[in-house]
């Protein structure tokens, strides 16, 4: 047994088969009320469209369902169990009051097509959140319709294209720094733009002279994450914005790292024209194992006519309503109005913080990241000396001399009771360890993390093979991903 952390220990975990393997005829967890209208003859009503068999759907009791999902849940790591320092993912605490208010009857059960007269509550939530986000970003207008960050990017670039088109030329390409998220180039392709890479300089920032050389009238926009994926604020942002604007291009900001800026600086003030936010990152709505998200897009005045429709307006009689008559709109990007339940949670978070709280949140996020940076400097290689904002990126340069890579270190960190940092991203840092603690973490948890990271580094020196075989204490050990991809088994079938 290697040295262990103070954070985690071993614990019994229940085995649990697939739900289908627990199923047997006659078990049931549902009960319908008696039918209060005459029963019908299905085959008469549906004819050949009648379904006779539901295939291998499970039949289990309620307690079995409770145990099934509870057992599965214990195999997960979560923010509620400890620090989850995934860089660029902003895994902060998800306040429970958010969940509570999103389940209040009229909010949870409102139908999207119910008359505006009885939708004033929902409309007011949409309008209030919109106003708050416009103030926080320093922009002029916003749509809450996009369902996630990448969907926001799509919406933002559609508006960018519509903006250029209205000026007579949609332009051909989008500039994307080599440190960008993969969603940025994938989005540009969906909007019919070609992608041109922009190389970062030795400080991890956009090289202004390179941008100057690449910027011309074919470029529709620069998609910039700020702070970028190294956690570095683009200090020459004003020059970048000026360069873009001088040639008629737009500055698009990926708001993935907005948690470093809220209440301290506003993108609208430093020249951003279009940006998306991730309510599931910056504004505390839960990640839920991969979603749902919400990706509002905020824009400057000149792009407002292109917002997706409908938009919420105040009518002459003072009530709120949806405005559909938007001839310049890019159209709809989603049915109805977006992930409304996430708006409720994000607004509850803004209310719980207020102006002081939001500023402190940002300060604490940056403080925590810098504390980790200081604690691990020298233990892990720091490829860029540039000051860190809300996240810090190390590399596995020192450990890889012993053959141990970032993913191996991450797997060993699991044994120490922590979710790993983001591995191997951004791509410009070979073997990256991207760490974002968020403001949520208390000093004690940060210290435990630093201690665990140091112990892992020490293990690499003493017994690299042990680290390479990690994790050792999880239910399953390293899984064969090659086999999973080569012969995909994507569903259960009887008898397999």
């Amino acid at each position: 047994m290697k040295q262990m952390t103070r954070k985690a220990t071993r614990h019994i975990s229940q085995n649990e088969n697939l739900i289908f393997e627990k199923s047997s005829p006659g078990k049931a967890a549902f009960k319908l009320p008696p039918l209060d209208v005459p029963d019908v003859d299905t085959s008469k009503l549906l004819g050949s469209s009648e379904r006779k068999d539901l295939g291998n759907m499970p039949e289990v009791s309620e307690l079995e369902i409770i145990r099934h999902f509870t057992r599965l849940s214990t195999w997960n790591y979560a923010i509620d169990l400890g620090m989850y320092p995934l860089g660029s993912c902003t895994m902060k605490y998800n306040p429970r009051v958010n969940e509570f208010v999103s389940r209040v009857e009229g909010i949870a059960n409102g139908h999207p097509y119910q008359p505006e007269k009885i939708s004033q509550g929902a409309l007011r939530i949409i309008q209030t959140l919109s106003e708050c986000l416009i103030e926080i970003t320093g922009m002029d207008a916003i749509t809450l319709q996009p369902a996630a960050g990448a969907h926001g990017e799509l919406t933002g670039l559609l508006m960018t294209r519509a903006y250029h088109q209205a000026k007579g030329n949609p332009r051909k390409k989008v500039l994307i720094p080599d440190s960008a998220h993969g969603t940025n180039p994938a989005t540009a392709a969906m909007v019919g733009y070609s992608v041109e890479n922009l190389k970062s300089n030795d400080r991890g920032m956009v090289e202004v002279s390179a941008l100057e050389a690449q910027m011309n009238e074919d470029v529709a926009a620069l998609m910039l994450t700020n702070p970028n994926t190294l956690g570095v604020f683009e200090q020459e942002i004003h020059k970048i914005a000026d360069l873009m604007h001088a040639k008629g291009g737009l500055l698009y900001m990926d708001g993935a790292n907005m948690n470093a800026l809220v209440g301290k600086v506003r993108p609208g003030d430093f020249g951003v024209d279009v940006m998306h936010l991730n309510l599931h990152k910056t504004f505390s709505t839960p990640h839920g194992g991969g979603g749902p998200g919400s990706g509002p897009v905020a824009v400057k005045k000149g792009l407002e006519p292109f917002l997706p429709k409908p938009v919420v307006i105040t009518k002459p009689d003072g009530t709120l309503g949806f405005e559909y008559n938007r001839p310049m709109s890019v159209g709809r990007v989603r049915a109805f109005y977006g992930n409304f339940g996430m708006f409720v949670r994000a607004l509850a978070y803004i209310y719980a913080n207020g102006p002081d709280g939001l500023r402190q949140t940002t300060e604490d996020a940056v403080l925590n990241a810098n504390y980790i940076r200081k604690g691990l400097e020298g233990v892990y290689d720091l490829p860029y000396e540039t000051p860190s904002m809300h996240e810090v990126v190390f590399s596995d340069k020192l450990q890889s001399k012993k053959g141990v890579k970032t993913m191996d270190l991450a797997k060993r960190l699991i044994d120490y009771g922590f979710h790993p940092y983001t591995t191997a991203f951004p791509l410009i840092v070979p073997g990256a360890l991207m760490i974002e603690p968020t403001e949520s973490e208390p000093l004690e948890e940060l210290d435990l993390f630093i201690e665990a990271m140091k112990q892992v580094a020490q293990e690499v020196e003493e017994d690299p093979d042990y680290v390479l075989a990690a994790p050792h204490h999880t239910r399953v050990q390293r899984l064969d991903e090659t086999q999973a991809a080569r012969k995909p088994v994507l569903r259960w079938k009887p008898g397999i």
Partner: protein
């Protein structure tokens, strides 16, 4: 902490931000509120939001009963506050749950494989059309006019810059796709036909006939399903190549339109062209069964601009609601649930038919139907609202030719009393319009 870091104040950490842009004032947003104040504020909004009304609205968002254990289980922090399961060794809970979700969706839709979720039914349908374009190497898309109008709008937005012409196929007097017009519209460049079944009018399409036309011309058939509960009693579109489903009906609150749960299902041979995350079964070093995210080479974080889609975040927690709902009702319950929906809608349509006109009544339908009245349905609805009833969706906004028709929906939660009350109010309106019109007719006769 400041001392350890070696700075004098937190503001020193913000030095990289040029001073002229730093905010030196408070954000102009509402002041900090206590938890009790936050709860009060949202409860007020709830009261202004249809709380206490009985609704006959469907049209892509359905009121079904949500068993309480759904929220008990999804509220567990291990599900609620976990990230995408990239670190498989301690995300097995989420991964196994998704694997079960994929299995049940495949079973219910009659497809071979399903993905882990898409944003919703509308974006899922648009992504399915793009997928068909990749598979066939053809460019254009035919979409039925009986598909949800907002789904059609989303497809138009997505198609806009992708060199993907979209044409619309009309419906016949039956409220189903006009097969003759479809035959005329399909060409060698058609990548897919996109229909919805049950369609926007609640009518079940002749999927087999449409599939024949599509396949005869080398195109794929994409079927959108907006009312998932229909799968308990309506034959799934087994002849389809891709099913794009909205699973909101399976235990997801209507929530004023979202978050919902889109999902794509298809044939195994097309899986590498399918967007979205997929969970696959594998083994660990000791041969123990486990699950991982797989076939990631389709996705944006690997393929960047060559990815099948830009989708990253999906609807995982909502998919878990759907998963638990499907598990609760299972093989027997889903059928019984669907049958109650069928019976309620049949009863209501029959009652409405006694005073007003039920359109497309010769075609099979599930839990929605179109009622044509003599009076403008907006006027009828505003009277119904006075009785705390939200009437059917007036179709005029989406289909100008149906000036006086509305789309009504009944689910297992709609009581006979509510149906009778609504029917009573609508027939009252019919009677008064008729008596008003009779003197007019007499005048004309004179």
């Amino acid at each position: 902490m400041l001392k350890t870091i070696g700075v004098r104040s937190v503001d020193d950490l913000f030095a990289p931000i040029p001073a002229e842009y730093r905010l030196t004032r408070d954000l102009d947003i509402p002041r900090q509120m206590a938890e009790s104040e936050i709860v009060d504020w949202f409860k007020q909004r709830s009261k202004e939001n249809g709380d206490g009304y009985i609704s006959f609205l469907g049209a892509g968002a359905y009121m079904h009963y949500r068993p309480v254990i759904i929220d008990s289980l999804i509220s567990r922090g291990e599900f609620l506050t976990a990230y995408t399961p990239y670190q498989a060794e301690f995300a097995q809970g989420t991964l196994q749950a998704i694997f079960e979700f994929q299995t049940m969706i495949a079973e219910l839709t009659g497809m071979e494989v399903a993905n882990a979720s898409m944003y919703d039914g509308s974006t899922g349908a648009a992504e399915a059309a793009m997928m068909a374009v990749r598979i066939t190497g053809r460019n254009s898309v035919l979409i039925a006019r009986s598909v949800h109008p907002e789904y059609r709008e989303v497809l138009a937005t997505y198609a806009w810059h992708q060199g993907m012409p979209v044409a619309t196929v009309p419906f016949a007097d039956t409220g189903r796709v006009n097969l003759k017009e479809l035959e005329k519209s399909i060409s060698a460049d058609t990548a897919c036909i996109l229909i919805q079944s049950p369609n926007f009018f609640g009518t079940i399409e002749d999927v087999a006939a449409i599939a024949d036309i599509a396949h005869k011309h080398g195109a794929l058939l994409v079927v959108s399903i907006a009312e998932a509960v229909s799968l308990g009693i309506v034959e799934p579109p087994r002849e389809a190549d891709i099913v794009a489903m909205e699973a909101q009906s399976f235990g997801v609150p209507m929530g004023f339109g979202g978050p919902y749960c889109g999902v794509l299902a298809t044939r195994e041979k097309y899986v590498r062209q399918m967007p979205g995350r997929l969970v696959g079964q594998t083994v660990d070093r000791n041969g123990k069964r486990g699950f991982v995210l797989t076939l990631a080479t389709r996705e944006q974080h690997i393929r960047r601009e060559k990815a099948t889609s830009n989708i990253c975040t999906n609807q995982a927690l909502v998919a878990l609601m759907v998963n638990i709902f499907m598990t609760i009702y299972g093989k027997v319950g889903l059928k019984e649930l669907a049958k109650q929906n069928l019976a309620k809608a049949a009863y209501a349509a029959d009652r409405f038919g006694q005073s007003a006109k039920v359109l497309f009544s010769g075609s099979p339908r599930f839990n929605e139907f179109v009622v044509e009245t003599s009076e403008d349905p907006y006027a009828i609805n505003s009277r119904l609202l006075g009785h705390k009833i939200v009437g059917g969706l007036p179709l005029k906004k989406f289909y100008p030719e149906f000036a006086n028709a509305a789309l009504w929906c009944c689910t297992e939660t709609t009581t006979r009393t509510a149906i009778d009350t609504a029917v009573g109010l609508v027939s009252e309106s019919e009677r008064s319009v008729r008596t008003m019109r009779e003197p007019e007719k007499q005048e004309v006769a004179r």
